[in-house]
C-alpha cells in the first residue's frame, strides 16, 4: 500500500500528509503537478494549501495541471482519491465531485477544531453512522453549495459522508462556514473519491491535540487496530 500526495505550486499541507503516513507506517511519496503519471501509488491525496495562489476560484487553475488527467483516469478506474480542503476544491473544479466551495458566510477565514458527524462510509472512512469526530478546519472558502437536484441525489445515495454538528452530535441550525445541509465531506457515486474541508492529517499524533484523523488513513491503508492503540504504541 503506497499513498501519493500531489504537490501543486502553492500546496502547503503535503508534508502534513506525509507525516501522517510516517506516523501510521504507511508508505508515501510525493507526486509533482507537472508529471503525467501517478508513479504506481495505490491511492492519491490532493492536499490543502493555496494552489497557484487561488487568486482565481480556488482550485480552478490546479485542475488543469498535467497530473490531473492521470488523477481523473485513476478515479474512473475506481482508484481511491482524497481531496482535503484545497484538494476538495480542486476535485469539484475537476468535476470528480459535485457542487462547489465558495466563501464562508462570515467572509472570514476560519481556523477552529469542529465536531463532525459520520453520515455514511466510503473507501476513505469506515465508521458507524452517528460517530462524532473532531477535526480542525482552516479555510476561507469552505461553504459547500450545490443545486437542489444535486443535494437530493447526494442525500438519496448516502454520499454525504461528514456533516458539521454540535458537540454531542446533534444537528446545527447552520454550519460555521454556511455550507449547505452542513456538508463537510462528500464522495462520488463509486464511493472511491472523497473530498472534505476539515484536515484529518492534523489530528494524527496526540501531541498535536487529537487522533480522530487516523481513521481515514487507516481505512484506506487497511490497517487494523485502534487509533488509541497506535498512538500508545507510537508513544
Amino acid at each position: 500500500m503506497k499513498l501519493g500526495t500531489i504537490v501543486f505550486p502553492g500546496s502547503n499541507c503535503e508534508q502534513d500528509v506525509a507525516y501522517a503516513c510516517e506516523y501510521l507506517g504507511i508508505e508515501h511519496r510525493y507526486l509533482w503537478h507537472n508529471d503525467r503519471d501517478l508513479g504506481g501509488v495505490d491511492a492519491v491525496v490532493l492536499p490543502g494549501g493555496f494552489s497557484y495562489g487561488d487568486y482565481l476560484r480556488c482550485g480552478a487553475v490546479a485542475r488543469f495541471s498535467p497530473i490531473m488527467d492521470a488523477v481523473s483516469a485513476f478515479a474512473a478506474d475506481g482508484g481511491r482519491v482524497l481531496g482535503i480542503c484545497n484538494g476538495f476544491q480542486v476535485l469539484t473544479e475537476a468535476h470528480l465531485l459535485p457542487g462547489a466551495l465558495i466563501r464562508n458566510t462570515g467572509l472570514k477565514f476560519i481556523c477552529r477544531e469542529l465536531p463532525l458527524r459520520v453520515q455514511a462510509s466510503c473507501a476513505w472512512l469506515n465508521e458507524p453512522a452517528g460517530r462524532v469526530l473532531r477535526m480542525p478546519v482552516a479555510h476561507n472558502e469552505g461553504n459547500f453549495v450545490c443545486d437542489d437536484e444535486t443535494l437530493a441525489a447526494l442525500q438519496a445515495t448516502d454520499r454525504i459522508i461528514l456533516r458539521y454538528c454540535a458537540d454531542d452530535g446533534g444537528d446545527l441550525a447552520c454550519a460555521p462556514n454556511g455550507a449547505r445541509d452542513c456538508i463537510a465531506g462528500i464522495c462520488n457515486e463509486g464511493r472511491n473519491v472523497f473530498g472534505l474541508m476539515p484536515h484529518p492529517e492534523r489530528v494524527i499524533d496526540p501531541v498535536c491535540g487529537g487522533i480522530d484523523g487516523q481513521t481515514i488513513f487507516r481505512a484506506v491503508a487497511g490497517l487494523t487496530g485502534t487509533d488509541a492503540a497506535a498512538a500508545a504504541a507510537a508513544a
Binding site: T5, V7, P9, G10, S11, N12, C13, E14, Q15, D16, A18, Y19, A20, C21, E22, H28, R29, Y30, L31, W32, N34, D35, G39, G48, G49, F50, Y52, G53, D54, Y55, K108, F109, I110, C111, R112, P136, A138, N140, H199, E201, R202, I204, D205, V207, C208, G209, A235
Partner: protein
C-alpha cells in the same frame, strides 16, 4: 571610469537631497565620499541607506547596550535574523519587525507585506519559516477608522500567512487612544534549520554572478523607507498611498521552496532579500559584509511597467524578490531550480574587486560609489534627551482606597466589564482567522500564555519534485514563544515598563514549561528629534538591557521604528519583546486552562497594592497614571524557575501568568478556558478591588491534583517565593469569597463575544 557620469551639479544636488530627507551635512558628506556631486541614482541610494529606517543613525549608540552573546547564540544582531542553537544540531532563527506606517494607510497590504518581509528575513538565513507571531496596537474600537484598520490588518496577516502555509501561533493586541493615528503592526517570524545550513547574506568571490529571483520590479514602494518609515504622519498621509507595497503570497511561497532548495543543494554563495530600499540595500549590505565591489546593470532587471528610471529600479520596494550570489559554474543549476518552481531568475550583475558599487543602465554609467559607504558610513547621532515633565506628575497620582468599589454586587459588574475589555477579552476572533496548525507542529495553540511548537522538519521530497517523501525528522522537544509589551507601563515608566515586557514574556514561556533562551526586540517610538521622546527610548533600552543581563537572556535581533506620531502626538513608547524558550519534553508542557473539578488552586507570588497603570484604572476610572508595579528581578526569576520546574516535573494541571486585570482575570481565564468554575479566597489585607485587579508582577496562578499540593508548596518554599493556597477548581461559578460571584457561562459569553461585538456590532 571611462564613461562620463551625469552628476547633479552644485545647484540641483542640495535641493533634491532635502526633498529626499537628507540633512545638509549628510549631503556634504556624500559629496566628500564621491569627490563630486552625486547623480540622481546615487543620491536616492544614499538617502535610503542613510535613512533612519536602514541606518539606525539615531539609535545605534544605545542598541550597543544590549547583551548579544550567550551559550545558545549562533548569530546575533547584524544579519537578517538572529539564530540560536536549540540542541541536537537544530537551530532557530527569529526576528520581529514592524510595518506601522504602510499599515496606517492601507492596513491589509501593509500588514500582509510586513509578514512577507519578515518571512524572507528568516529563509534568507537558510531556515524554514515555521511560525509567525503578531503584535498589534490600535486606537479604541469605538472609532470606525480603528475598526477598519484592525479588521484590515488581521485579514492581511491571515491572508498572507495562511497562503504561504506558515502558522500564526501567538500574539498580542492592545487598543489605546495613543495609537489612534499611528497603529503598530509587529510581525515576528521563527524559522528552523540544521546548524550546518546556516547561511549569511554575503556576496563574496570576484566574478560571481548576482541573480535576481522572484517578482518583477515596479514603482510600488518607491522610497518606502524614507517617505513612510522615517517621517511622522499628518494630513498628507493618504497621498502617500503609492509608497505602500502590494504583496503576492503565492510568489513568496514559491520563493521559500526554491531558495531553501538552492541553499540545501549548496548552490549559493549568499542570499539576501529585497526589503526596505530594495536592490540598493540588499546588494550594498551583501557587498559590505564581503568587502567587495558590485557591478549591476538595471537594464537587465525585469520590470512590470515601462519607462522606469534607473534610480526607481534601484530603490523600488516591490515585494517577493531575492538576490543570490552564484558561482558561474553553478548558474545553470540555479536557473533550473528557479524554473522548476516557476520563478523568474535573471543575472543582473557581478561581484568585482574594485570595492565600488557600480550601477549601469545598459551602456550608460549612472552610479559609482564606494560600496562600504552606503551600508557602513551612515552618520551616527548622539541625540539630546530630557525627562518629560509628565513622568513625575502622573507617577504621583493615585485613587484613594475609599473611592474604590467594595460592595460584591458592584465588583461583579466591574468584573464583567473587565472581562469584556478589549485589552483583556478572548483573542479568538483574531487567531481563528489565522491558520495556526498548518505544518502539524503546533502543540500548544494560541489563546494561552505562550505557544509551543514541536521541533521537526518535513522531508525533502516536496522540494525535489516527485519522489519518496524520505521521512521527516520529528523530535519530542520544542520551543515556546511569547510576545509582550504593555504600552501604558512604558509611557508611565519606560525603564521598568520595558523590563516588565521582558519579564512577562519570560513568565509566559515559563508557564508552559519553557526555558527562556533569547529575545528579539521591536522598538516603536515617536520622533527621536524630540528630546522627551528620545528620553523614553533611552530609558526603555536601559531597562530592557539591564533585565536581559539579569536574566541571562541575549538580544539576537530586532528593529527600531521611530516617527510613530500623528499630528505631533507620539504613540506610547512600545518596546515589544518576542521571546523564544526551549521545551525539553513535549509531553511535559502545561496550559492555562483549569482541568478537573477538585484540583487545588495555588497562587505563586504575592499581591501588593499596585493599581498604577492598570487596566482597572484605565477602564473604570479613565486614568492612565500612578506608579506602575514594581519588578524584583530576583523574585521574578525565582517564580519562573519554580513554575518551570513544576511543569517539567509533571506536577501542575494548569499555570497562568497574572498580568492585565490581575489575579481575578487570571482565575477567570483559566476557568473559562477549562469550562469549569472555581471557589477561592484571596488571603490579603488589601481593599477588595486592589486584591482582585492589582497587576503586581511575579505572580502565577497554578492548579494541581490535590495529592500534589505538598510537592508544589515544597518547591515554592525551596525557591523562597511567597505562595498561598487559594481554593479549588469545580462547579459552574467564579467565586472569590466576599468579593466576587459570577456565573461561568455569563463570564464566558462576555469574554468570548467582546471583540467580535466591537467589530461587527
Amino acid at each position: 571610469m571611462a564613461t562620463p557620469i551625469a552628476d547633479l551639479g552644485a545647484d540641483k544636488g542640495p535641493v533634491l537631497a532635502v526633498e529626499l530627507g537628507l540633512r545638509p551635512d549628510e549631503y556634504e558628506h556624500i559629496t566628500q565620499i564621491l569627490g563630486r556631486t552625486p547623480t540622481i541614482c546615487e543620491l536616492y541610494m544614499y538617502s535610503l541607506m542613510w535613512s533612519e529606517h536602514c541606518s539606525y543613525k539615531h539609535s545605534k549608540k544605545y542598541l550597543r547596550l544590549f547583551p548579544t552573546t550567550g551559550p545558545h547564540v549562533l548569530q546575533g544582531p547584524g544579519e537578517n535574523a538572529g539564530v540560536i542553537s536549540v540542541g541536537d544540531g537544530w537551530a532557530v532563527a527569529f526576528k520581529m519587525e514592524t510595518h506601522n506606517h504602510p499599515s496606517a494607510i492601507e492596513p491589509y497590504e501593509g500588514a500582509a507585506t510586513g509578514i512577507g518581509g519578515i518571512i524572507r528575513d528568516i529563509f534568507t538565513m537558510g531556515a524554514r519559516p515555521i511560525a509567525c507571531v503578531d503584535s498589534l496596537r490600535f486606537g479604541t474600537l469605538d472609532k470606525p477608522r480603528q475598526r477598519y484598520l484592525f479588521e484590515g490588518a488581521v485579514a492581511g496577516i491571515g491572508g498572507y500567512g495562511n497562503c504561504i502555509g506558515v502558522p500564526t501561533v501567538a500574539g498580542e493586541v492592545y487598543f489605546e487612544p495613543a495609537y489612534e493615528g499611528n497603529c503598530i503592526i509587529g510581525a515576528m517570524s521563527i524559522g528552523l534549520l540544521r546548524e550546518e545550513n546556516l547561511t549569511r547574506a554575503t556576496a563574496s568571490g570576484v566574478g560571481n554572478q548576482l541573480v535576481l529571483i522572484g517578482s518583477t520590479t515596479g514603482r510600488d514602494g518607491i522610497g518606502g523607507a524614507s517617505v513612510l518609515a522615517s517621517q511622522e504622519f499628518d494630513e498628507g498621509a493618504e497621498a502617500k498611498r503609492p509608497a505602500v507595497q502590494v504583496g503576492d503570497p503565492f510568489e513568496e511561497k514559491l520563493l521559500i521552496e526554491a531558495c531553501l532548495e538552492l541553499l540545501e543543494s549548496g548552490l549559493l554563495v549568499g542570499l539576501g532579500d529585497l526589503g526596505a530600499a530594495g536592490l540598493t540595500s540588499s546588494a550594498s549590505e551583501m557587498a559590505s559584509r564581503a568587502g567587495v565591489g558590485l557591478d549591476i546593470d538595471v537594464a537587465k532587471v525585469p520590470r512590470r511597467e515601462p519607462g522606469m528610471q534607473p534610480f526607481e529600479i534601484m530603490v523600488s520596494e516591490s515585494q517577493e524578490r531575492m538576490l543570490a550570489c552564484v558561482e558561474p559554474e553553478k548558474l545553470e543549476a540555479v536557473l533550473a531550480v528557479c524554473d522548476k518552481w516557476g520563478l523568474r531568475a535573471t543575472v543582473i550583475g557581478q561581484v568585482t574587486d574594485t570595492g565600488d558599487f557600480v550601477v549601469r543602465d545598459g551602456d550608460a554609467l549612472v552610479g559609482c560609489m564606494p560600496a562600504l559607504s552606503l551600508a557602513d558610513d551612515a552618520p551616527e547621532y548622539d541625540v539630546p534627551f530630557s525627562k518629560p515633565a509628565y513622568i513625575e506628575r502622573l507617577a504621583a497620582e493615585s485613587i484613594p482606597d475609599d473611592a474604590l468599589p467594595q460592595d460584591p454586587g458592584e465588583l461583579n459588574e466591574v468584573m464583567k466589564r473587565m472581562l469584556g475589555s478589549h485589552n483583556i477579552c478572548s483573542r479568538a476572533w483574531i487567531y481563528e482567522q489565522y491558520d495556526h496548525q498548518v505544518m502539524d507542529n503546533t502543540v500548544v495553540k494560541p489563546g494561552g500564555d505562550a505557544a509551543v511548537l514541536r521541533i521537526g522538519l518535513t522531508g525533502r521530497g516536496a522540494r525535489s519534485g516527485s519522489g519518496d517523501s524520505g521521512g521527516r525528522t520529528v523530535t519530542d522537544r520544542g520551543i515556546a514563544v511569547s510576545s509582550d509589551c504593555n504600552g501604558r507601563y512604558c509611557y508611565l515608566n519606560p525603564y521598568r515598563g520595558a523590563q516588565i515586557a521582558l519579564a512577562e514574556a519570560a513568565r509566559n514561556v515559563s508557564c508552559v514549561g519553557g526555558e527562556p533562551a533569547a529575545i528579539t526586540d521591536c522598538l516603536s517610538f515617536g520622533s527621536p528629534d524630540k528630546p522627551e521622546v528620545y528620553w523614553t527610548f533611552v530609558e526603555a533600552i536601559k531597562g530592557l538591557s539591564d533585565g536581559c543581563r539579569s536574566f541571562g537572556i541575549p538580544v539576537i535581533s530586532g528593529n527600531v521604528s521611530f516617527y510613530n506620531e500623528s499630528f505631533g502626538e507620539p504613540i506610547y513608547p512600545t518596546p515589544k519583546v518576542g521571546l523564544v524558550g526551549l521545551v525539553e519534553r513535549l509531553d511535559r508542557v502545561c496550559t492555562a486552562d483549569f482541568k478537573d473539578a477538585g484540583d487545588t488552586i495555588i497562587l505563586l507570588g504575592q499581591t501588593e497594592h499596585e493599581l498604577g497603570g492598570s487596566e482597572y484604572l484605565r477602564l473604570e476610572h479613565d486614568r492612565v497614571a500612578g506608579e506602575i508595579p514594581a519588578l524584583d528581578l530576583e523574585l521574578e526569576r525565582d517564580v519562573q524557575d519554580t513554575v518551570r520546574e513544576l511543569v517539567r516535573a509533571g506536577l501542575l494541571k494548569s499555570a497562568h501568568d497574572c498580568s492585565d486585570g490581575g489575579v481575578a482575570v487570571a482565575l477567570a481565564e483559566s476557568a473559562i478556558g477549562g469550562r469549569v468554575g472555581f471557589e477561592v479566597a484571596l488571603d490579603d489585607d488589601l481593599p477588595a478591588a486592589v486584591s482582585l485587579f492589582s497587576e503586581t508582577q511575579s505572580r502565577v496562578v497554578v492548579s494541581c491534583d490535590s495529592a500534589n499540593v505538598d510537592a508544589v508548596l515544597d518547591a515554592a518554599a525551596a525557591h523562597g517565593i511567597p505562595f498561598s493556597v487559594l481554593g479549588d477548581v469545580g462547579g459552574n461559578r467564579l467565586v472569590i469569597q466576599d468579593k466576587l460571584d459570577l456565573d461561568l457561562d455569563t463570564a464566558a459569553d462576555i469574554y468570548h463575544g467582546a471583540l467580535e461585538q466591537a467589530v461587527h456590532g
